[in-house]
């Protein structure tokens, strides 16, 4: 077979390029997290780039911040912790801060994508709930890699026309009765919710911590997910997707954040929310400083601003989450009477401890054994169960 001249040229070019690339060294970036901590907040830089959850950078508190400090805020919204981690890994230099939940923060710390912060520069930190001042998901060996922000539960959202009383168990979202009318987040960490439900439904599996799953336990959760697959209308990627699904009547029950509930309620949609008897997973968010932040002073100013009691209250009520700052309660009552109680801002530590907060699953089972499935397995199994 005669090879045309152009094909020969093409072939030689490709071969040469293959050799060149193969000889390349490691292309991964290595950022040092040993930067000296600043001792005071310097002059603001005029700009601030944030990766945030939808609802975290509302004009209500962002505009006054911009006027006060001159830092123009640009927000990139992400729909999941995985997305935030990927954004920070791939383009961390373009962002100053990220509002990472507990299942993203340790990956960012381990990957060198974030740098330590000086809590002395954030006076309100002293007023935080003790459990959120130095939680294990953002403080490693006494070094603070961010400032806690707010926390909340992953609750069940339902249409009040279909459910006249709130469902009492998570089994509702696994029930064929509502086939084609259920939605859950398109997020591998959702496996923990399935595990939490199974820990009560099938104690023989021996699940004690929904983030520490051995292979048989993970397989049981994935099996239930696969059974649930035909019942799901859509796996929502962004909070606004779920809001539209409920508004248009496409779904009647699903797993949601308080943000979707408060937005739908404000729009007059017939929805209710509840935490069923098996309990709930939750998330505690931290504003973390990027290892390559170009506007660190604006970043510290932002953290101070959103940690202040007034802004903590505004954000808590707007989103439907619970502030880390204990002084936020009176401010919340000023904006909306009864909100402090509604969002458990004055709840005892027992309520906080009952929520199973998001954590990145690792192979260390915490009881001396090392056979738990790490997050990469969770991600693979999730794609297989929902594809």
């Amino acid at each position: 077979m005669r090879i045309a001249k152009i094909d020969a040229v093409l072939g030689v070019t490709l071969a040469a390029m293959a050799l060149a690339v193969g000889a390349c060294g490691s292309s991964s970036s290595n950022s040092s997290s040993n930067a000296n901590l600043p001792t005071k907040i310097g002059k603001t830089e005029g700009e601030l780039n944030l990766i945030a959850w939808e609802g975290y950078v509302q004009p209500e508190w962002t505009k006054p911040f911009e006027e006060k400090t001159g830092c123009k805020v640009h927000a990139k919204y992400a729909g999941s912790s995985d997305e935030m981690v990927a954004l920070m890994r791939q383009s961390g230099e373009s962002y100053d801060m990220v509002s990472a939940s507990g299942d993203a923060s340790l990956r960012l710390i381990r990957g060198g994508n974030v740098q330590p912060m000086n809590v002395a520069l954030v006076p309100e930190w002293k007023n935080f709930i003790p459990a959120l001042q130095s939680p294990p998901h953002n403080t490693v060996n006494g070094v603070h890699y961010g400032i806690s922000l707010q926390w909340g539960p992953n609750m069940m959202l339902y249409n009040t026309h279909t459910f006249h009383t709130a469902p009492t168990s998570w089994e509702t979202i696994y029930s064929p009765k509502y086939k084609g009318q259920i939605t859950i987040p398109n997020n591998p960490i959702q496996i923990a919710d399935v595990a939490l439900y199974l820990s009560k439904k099938d104690p023989s599996l021996g699940i004690t911590n929904p983030y520490e799953l051995t292979e048989p336990q993970l397989n049981a959760a994935v099996k239930l997910l696969k059974e649930q697959h035909p019942l799901i209308k859509k796996y929502w990627d962004l909070a606004s997707d779920e809001i539209e699904l409920f508004k248009n009547g496409d779904v009647v029950v699903g797993a949601a954040w308080p943000y979707q509930y408060s937005t739908l309620k404000a729009a007059g949609a017939p929805v209710g929310e509840t935490i069923p008897s098996e309990g709930a997973t939750g998330w505690a968010d931290t504003w973390m400083l990027s290892a390559h932040a170009k506007h660190p002073n604006c970043a510290y100013e932002w953290v101070n601003w959103v940690s202040s009691p007034k802004v903590q209250a505004e954000q808590a009520i707007s989103y439907g989450e619970t502030p880390a700052n204990t002084k936020a309660c009176p401010e919340m009552e000023k904006i909306q009477k009864g909100s402090c109680e509604e969002y458990h801002a004055n709840a005892p530590a027992a309520y906080f401890n009952s929520i199973k907060f998001w954590r990145t699953p690792v192979s260390d089972c915490g009881n001396g054994q090392n056979n738990c499935m790490d997050y990469s397995v969770w991600q693979q199994k999730w794609t297989e169960a929902t594809g």
Partner: protein, 282 residues
């Protein structure tokens, strides 16, 4: 430079040639090379050691086969639907419509391309949703709600709508190239309309259909936005897995491995299309 014509040629081709080699070929090569690497799970850093693990995972796990077949299947369905719409439309516009109407029809085909892709997909999402116009109309005329929002039906409809101009244009050009004399000769020889259509028109415009099908098939094969926006729980495409592997799991090697699949499918498709005469008019 004028004494050596080959030098002129080299200078002329160097810029597009460089673009082709450096950007297009290099990107394809890096894609293939990445698929042979792996990633460290907790920190996300690439491990530059050769492995076939990603391809093995693709082959061993049944769900990826389902996703690949679904992607190819819907791409084929979109191609067939668009061909069935484009051929009568082009025949009417070129052979039957008066000149003024033909010009307007041409503009109408192109106008949707002026608006944003996302806007068009979101509009369909609203039309097909539970409370949308389609269900409302069907209930008013007594058929009952179709409820095809967030399903593969919705994905098929939306893709067929979005890529239709890309199918109509090559078919239109092919119909214009059919000389009137052929059709007159066919009539003179005693063929009725349907026989002329089957034996003369269709073979002559078929290469145009194949050329248009390259667009509809390839564009559907690689898309992930429409399945994400209007698809349901059974609508994951190859593109969605690639997007989630890169943007969510940060497993670029696996994404690259899965991305090689549509490349191979398209290479086979192009070889077949060439055999069927799609590039004859070039």
């Amino acid at each position: 430079m004028f004494r050596r014509p080959w030098l002129r040629l080299v200078l002329l081709l160097s810029a597009p040639g460089a673009w082709f080699v450096l950007i297009y070929l290099a990107a394809l090569l890096l894609l293939f090379l990445s698929s042979l690497w792996s990633v460290e799970p907790f920190s996300g850093k690439l491990i530059h050691s050769w492995t076939l693990e990603n391809f093995k995972r693709l082959v061993d796990t049944p769900v990826y086969r389902t996703i690949a077949l679904r992607t190819i299947g819907i791409a084929a369905a979109v191609t067939v639907a668009d061909a069935l719409i484009a051929v009568p439309f082009a025949l009417f516009a070129v052979r039957i419509a008066p000149l003024r109407l033909r010009k307007w029809l041409f503009v109408c085909v192109l106008i949707p391309l002026w608006s944003s892709y996302l806007v068009r997909v979101y509009i369909w999402r609203l039309i097909l949703s539970h409370d949308g116009v389609l269900n409302w109309t069907l209930e008013k005329i007594g058929i009952g709600a179709a409820n095809i929002g967030y399903s593969n039906w919705a994905v098929w409809i939306v893709f067929s709508y979005i890529w239709l101009p890309f199918m109509i244009l090559p078919v239109w050009a092919a119909v214009e190239r059919v000389p009137d004399s052929f059709l007159e000769a066919s009539a003179d020889l005693g063929a009725k309309g349907s026989r002329t259509f089957r034996s003369i028109l269709l073979p002559m415009i078929f290469p145009g259909v194949v050329a248009g099908s390259i667009f509809t098939f390839a564009l559907t094969l690689g898309d992930f936005i429409t399945p994400a926006l209007v698809g349901g729980s059974e609508s994951t495409f190859i593109g969605n897995v690639v997007y989630e592997s890169v943007g969510v799991a940060n497993d670029i090697p696996f994404a690259a491995a899965f991305a090689v699949v549509p490349l191979v499918v398209m290479a086979v498709y192009l070889v077949i299309a060439r055999r069927l005469g799609a590039f004859d008019a070039l």
